[in-house]
Each structure stands twice: as C-alpha cells, then as structure tokens.
C-alpha cells in the first residue's frame, strides 16, 4: 500500500532524514519510534504532503507521490496529530469541523455521515454542536479521528496520537484505532516515542536515530529482546525496566 525508498529531507544545511526505506502492506500498521530530533515526524510529514522538500521515491497504492499532491490524495490519506486542542479550530463546533472535509471533497449526505462518524468513534450525538473546549482531551482526540475518517481515507498517518492523553484514555483511543482498522481495512503509519504503545498496534517497527532508520524489527522480536542495533536495545531496556516496577 505504501512504499518509501531512500527518502531524504533537508532543512537548510541539516539533513533531518537520511535515506529512509520501508513498506507497509494494505490494512497493516507500521510504527516508527525514535527520540525527539530523530526525524520520525519528518518522515510522516513528507509522506502526508505537509513538507514538499524531499527527495527519494514514495508511492501510495501504486501511485508515485510528487511534491505537490492532488485533491484525491488528500481524500485518501489523512493525518491525526498529537494535540487535538491544537488541531481543532477553537471557534468551530464539532459539526463544522466534521463537515468541512465533506464540503472540500464535494461529498453528499453530510448529515448522515456526521452522525455515523460520531457513533463510529463512540461520541454521544450531543457532542455534535459542542466546541472543542467543552470536550475532554479524549473526546477531542476522537473528534480529530472522526474528522480524519470523514473523507473515507485508505491511509491514516498518526503522529503521537495518544501522547497527550491520560493512560486510561490512551487505552480507549488505541482500542478505537484497532477497531477502525479492522472495520475499514485502514493502513496506518504511526509515530511515537513510546515503544509499548507502538508494539501494541504495529506488527512491524522502524527505529530511527539521527535521521536514519537504524533497525527494522517485528513487534514479536522486540518483545522477545531479539534486537540488533544498540539504540533499539537501549530503548527496549528502558521501557522494560519501568514495567518491572
């Protein structure tokens, strides 16, 4: 579904992503972990079309991606960001936020689609005419996910979708993402710094350090400790140490 080959992104003289290659099958999830500045989010932003300054080869569903993307691309590929408070318009109701993608893509049956989307992300119908500040953090992230689903995309790009949430809410959102993937055969690329969260949702994981993908490892090998690169071993050890407590 998605293939990225030798992706490079430069910010001025600094090469933030230095030749990253990976592929994701249809209906599967690929996770990218790494520390701040490792280039993980930059990969996602190049893939989503938010950053046109890249070189390499990227395809989604067989179509090669160009720096400028078509309207159809933005219908098929959607992104969910870390902080739903920052990504929702503070003075627009949920109804407005959800109807916008439909208007942009000229889709009909707006009322039914919004009702369906709200129930799909398990939000009460009453949330439809609320403003973001009237919702809890978890509800806001559900709205952001619902908005991403409005255009009926095939690919969701998830940038730290649960890092700003409490652990109990994180569990709900991760379950929701798993259900949606099952139901809609979505393909996910998820970025996070939390190894346990990534391994929960993604069977394949790429570990990034200083702009390079230093290791590609299955969640199973990661859990079993069959790591190859010292950076992966370090990250895994830290994560495991805290679990023992």
């Amino acid at each position: 579904m998605i293939s990225v080959q030798d992706l490079r992104v430069k910010f001025g003289p600094v090469e933030a992503v230095r030749g990253v290659t990976f592929a994701v099958g249809e209906g599967s999830s690929f996770g990218i972990v790494g520390e701040s500045g490792s280039g993980k989010s930059t990969v996602l932003r190049a893939l989503s079309g938010l950053n046109p300054d890249w070189t390499g080869r990227m395809t989604i569903a067989g179509t090669a991606l160009t720096p400028k993307r078509s309207r159809d691309f933005f219908r098929r590929v959607q992104m969910v960001f870390q902080d739903p408070y920052g990504s929702l318009h503070p003075r627009q109701t949920v109804d407005r936020a959800l109807s916008e993608p439909l208007l942009v893509h000229g889709m009909s049956d707006i009322d039914r689609r919004i009702r369906q989307a709200l129930s799909e992300v398990a939000l009460p119908a009453a949330a439809r005419f609320r403003y973001p500040h009237q919702l809890s953090g978890g509800q806001r992230q559900r709205v952001a996910i619902a908005r991403a689903l409005m255009s009926e995309p095939e690919v969701l790009l998830l940038d730290e979708p649960t890092s700003a949430l409490d652990v109990s809410v994180q569990a709900e959102v991760l379950n929701l993402l798993a259900d949606l993937q099952d139901r809609r055969k979505l393909t996910y690329v998820m970025v996070s710094h939390n190894l346990a969260v990534i391994a929960h949702l993604c069977p394949m994981i790429g570990v990034m350090q200083a702009g390079e993908m230093v290791e590609m490892i299955s969640a199973e090998d990661l859990r079993a400790g069959r790591t190859q690169h010292p950076h992966t071993t370090d990250l895994r050890r830290l994560s495991a140490e805290l679990e023992e407590a």
Partner: protein
C-alpha cells in the same frame, strides 16, 4: 515533619456553584520521596501547589492543618511565603521551554536564584552557578552557563531548571511532571539525577506525575489521587499489591512489552469511588 496536610479542601467558583477540586486530602512528608499520581483533573498539582500557596486567587482553600516545617501556610503573611517559595521549597515545572526566562542566559538565572538566598559577589554567584551546573551533570558548565534557553535541548533545559531550584539549598522540592516533555532516555537520567540529589542533600521530594510505574520506580511512597481524593497510598514496592480498583485499572490499561494484549482493558469508573 517537613510537610503536614490534614483534610485539605480546594474549591473553585464555577457557573454551577462551587466545584470541589480537592476533597479532604491528607499527606505528610519528611525527608523522603513521595509520588502523587493521578490523571488530568484529579487535583494532584493543586494539592502540591497549595503548600506554596501558588493557587489562582479564586481558589478557596481550607484545611485542618497545612504546614510547611511548622509554619501555618493558611495564615502566613506574604513575606513569610516569599521566604519559603524558591528558597526553602523549590518548584520544578514540566516544560523548561516555558519556565525559564528566554532572554537571560542559563548561568545568569541560576546565579540570580543563588544570590536571592546567599549574599555574595557577582563573581561568587557565577562560581556557584558553574558548580551547580556540574552537580546536575552538565559536562561543559561554562558553555551552558553562557547559553540562552533556546540554545539548549529539553533535557539540558530541565537540568538548568533543577540547578536553579537547588541554588538556595532548599529543604523541599516539588517536581510537577518534570519529565513529561522529555524523551524516555533523558527522562530516566533526569529522574535518577533528582533521586540522587534529594537523597544526598537530605531533602524532601514530591514528584507529581500521571505515570504510575515511573513514579513508583523513583519514590519511597506513592499516593494515588482520583477526583480530588487520595484513594490509595502504597509503598514503592507494593505496586502489584494495589487494592483500589482505580489503581489496578491504571496499571492494567497500559500497553506493555512483556505482556502483549490483543485488547487493552478499559477503565470502568465506579461512581462509588467518588463517595
């Protein structure tokens, strides 16, 4: 006792009357490390801030006892409070990007905090700042002392913040989510550093966080807060023996590397927990 809190209640006026944010919290702290864990809105931050009387003016605070080293916080004068805040008790906040002064070098900020408490020349303050930076394990104290906050990484910024709070040699350190903005590797380093400094100087530490396993790793005791109450208090090693369903729920809904689950258990909140 360094901190004594009995039956602390904090209320905020809202559109529908008073909202009761902290309900009868009792905490005592000596020279030890106490963790306070809870989710957003559980009242963990404001409970700790009440010790420094750092709440919004609208907050209504009542308590049977609220004392810092014997000083009654509720009746203390502003002057008495100033002698506590930033001198005898320091507060470390989540994100150094927002809590450091952006137009002062790191060294100047630490020196200022030091001169606040100790009378000394500019030169002595600078020396003290360099020494403190070395204590928080910064390899090149001179370079960092001359750097502005935006020139520092998150981990370095947090070390500067800690150095600044240690400058007046406080007895109590309150760290409010000190590592939530940092990477996992840096997070562990900073917490280990805090733990080490606190034990070595014989200080009291209150570590506020939403991360239960992390906190129990670094503290002697953990108080779990839910909806304004302490629902359970645990020794650090007793995490797995937690009895309250909320504490158990917090632990179970975490994805882990060691015990993969197909589906994460979701917390069923019992209204009885509020009673």
């Amino acid at each position: 006792m360094l901190v004594e809190i009995q039956n602390l209640n904090i209320m905020f006026p809202s559109q529908h009357g008073l909202s009761h944010a902290v309900r009868g919290v009792s905490i005592t702290l000596g020279q030890e490390k106490l963790g306070i864990v809870g989710e957003s809105g559980s009242g963990k931050s404001i409970s700790a801030r009440a010790i420094l009387r750092l709440l919004p003016p609208a907050a209504r605070v009542t308590a049977d006892t609220l004392r810092f080293d014997g000083i009654d916080i509720l009746s203390a004068t502003e002057r008495q409070m100033r002698a506590i805040r930033g001198r005898r008790a320091g507060l470390i906040l989540q994100d150094p990007k927002y809590s450091l002064n952006p137009i002062m070098t790191a060294g100047a900020q630490i020196a200022e905090a030091w001169r606040n408490q100790t009378k000394g020349s500019k030169k002595a303050a600078r020396e003290a700042a360099l020494d403190l930076l070395a204590q928080v394990q910064i390899r090149d104290p001179k370079r960092v002392a001359d750097a502005y906050p935006h020139e520092l990484s998150g981990g370095m910024g947090q070390r500067v913040m800690i150095a600044m709070m240690l400058a007046p040699d406080p007895e109590l350190l309150i760290a409010d989510e000190p590592t939530s903005a940092l990477d996992a590797t840096v997070q562990a380093e900073i917490l280990r550093l805090l733990e080490d400094l606190v034990s070595r100087r014989g200080m009291g530490l209150i570590l506020i966080s939403h991360d239960l396993p992390l906190v129990s790793h670094f503290c002697d005791r953990v108080a779990v807060m839910y909806a304004g109450r302490v629902v359970e208090e645990l020794g650090a090693g007793e995490l797995l023996q937690a009895k309250h369903p909320y504490t158990r729920g917090l632990l179970e809904c975490l994805p882990t590397l060691s015990h993969p689950k197909l589906r994460l258990p979701v917390m069923a909140r019992d209204p009885a927990w509020l009673a």
